[in-house]
Amino acid sequence: MSTRFYTDAGEAVAEIQDGSTVLIGGFGMAGMPVALIDALLQQDAGDLTVVSNNAGNGDTGLAALLAAGRVRKVVCSFPRQADSYVFDELYRAGKVELEVVPQGNLAERIRAAGAGIGAFFCPTGVGTLLSEGKETREIDGRTYVLEYPIRGDVALIGAYRADRMGNLVYRKTARNFGPVMATAATTVIAQVREIVETGALDPETVITPSIYVDRVVQEVDQA
């Protein structure tokens, strides 16, 4: 159904509920939907499962959500970073669960959820701790691990421009997880830098078609 546009990020994320699985785009700060995460912090949904490449940096964004005790579990490829101290402390105190997923498996499992794939035999992680207990199979002489889709109740993503239908384009490596996450959640909320009229985006360049986008919020320039 048609994409809805919001001027208030708080309104766009208001319906996110306790216990939701929230896919959060971005790789480092590139593509990170900061305004949406901040808005989520302002409402009170807790017991969240967050699926994102990292587990927060410094004291803002996802780290702030973690610090506020709102996150039960993090599914990510790389929690540990120079400034991931908020996550590190919670994890060591046993206050947050962690599922570490190889980055390619994370992306492909999210894609699988969006593409209606029930599970797939994957070459990454075979014979490692991260595939322990998982089903394996040899196919054409190579061993694969069976991996399952990762679905979200909500996806929060950052894009560059939206048109008034909700079609999205990204910019450079800020594209990263946005396009696959947009296919894999019940409600997809995008923050964009700019909204343009329908017809202003070249149809060849649309990366996330409007069908995947439920809500769009334009970033307010902080400058």
Binding site: M1, A113, G116, N167, T183, P203, V206, P209, S210, I211
Partner: protein, 224 residues
């Protein structure tokens, strides 16, 4: 279903345009819809201006416009039936795997398909008859059948020989299992749900006449 749907009944069977118009009237504004090749394509002609309905074509496009004519014909821009079409503002192109991922991932709101047979359990048979020299050819039919949130079928209720096409069990090879939600025919509209098959509209026949000609239990949903 929108309660308004249940109140419209006709006194004569519908022709193919009448069926298409009825389907078009039941597609919510802003829905993302795939119209199968053949009769389902007619639905596009009856979508009201400003409905915001976005048409998907599985060969890689959203927001497809009407058939192209004259100078608008572009060999690089066709629908799934390989007919030249046009592009609407807000269109998007994508490759075949992305297009079918969109379909198979359940992102389309409605898919409208033709059928040889539909069973009372919602099984669809629309890709092959058992003609002795038939060459099997499925195209995107099986993907369309299982992908959309709702699958509408448009067909005549009976073959030219008078045999029902809404049946207890399909005798033709299946396209998909339990995938049809609603069947639009010249004589009636049927809802298929776990409760059973419910007649929601009749055209030129009564519920009892239909019930007598179809070999299955029918629920009367014409006078809710």
């Amino acid at each position: 279903m929108n309660p308004a749907i249940r109140t419209s009944h006709g006194n004569a069977p519908l022709d193919k345009h009448g069926i298409a118009a009825l389907v078009a009237g039941h597609i919510p504004d802003g829905a993302f819809v795939n119209l199968g090749i053949g009769r389902p394509t007619l639905v596009a002609d009856h979508l009201p201006p400003g409905s915001g309905v976005v048409l998907h074509t599985e060969n890689g496009m959203l927001n497809m416009g009407p058939a192209a004519e004259g100078n608008d014909v572009d060999p690089d821009l066709t629908n799934a039936g390989k007919v030249p079409v046009t592009e609407m503002p807000g269109a998007a192109y994508f490759h075949h795997a992305d297009s079918f991922a969109m379909m198979r991932g359940g992102h389309l709101d409605i898919c409208v398909l033709g059928a040889y047979q539909v069973s009372s359990g919602g099984d669809l048979a629309n890709w092959q008859t058992r003609a002795p020299d038939a060459i099997p050819a499925v195209g995107g039919a099986m993907d369309l059948a299982i992908g959309a949130k709702q699958v509408f079928v448009v067909m005549t209720l009976f073959t030219k020989g008078g045999t029902p096409k809404l049946v207890r069990e399909c005798s033709y090879p299946l396209t998909g299992l339990g995938c049809v939600d609603r069947v639009y025919t010249d004589l009636a509209v049927f809802d298929i749900s776990p409760r059973g098959v419910s007649v929601t509209h009749t055209f030129g026949v009564t519920f009892d006449e239909l019930a007598a000609r179809l070999d299955m239990p029918l629920l009367d949903g014409t006078n809710p």
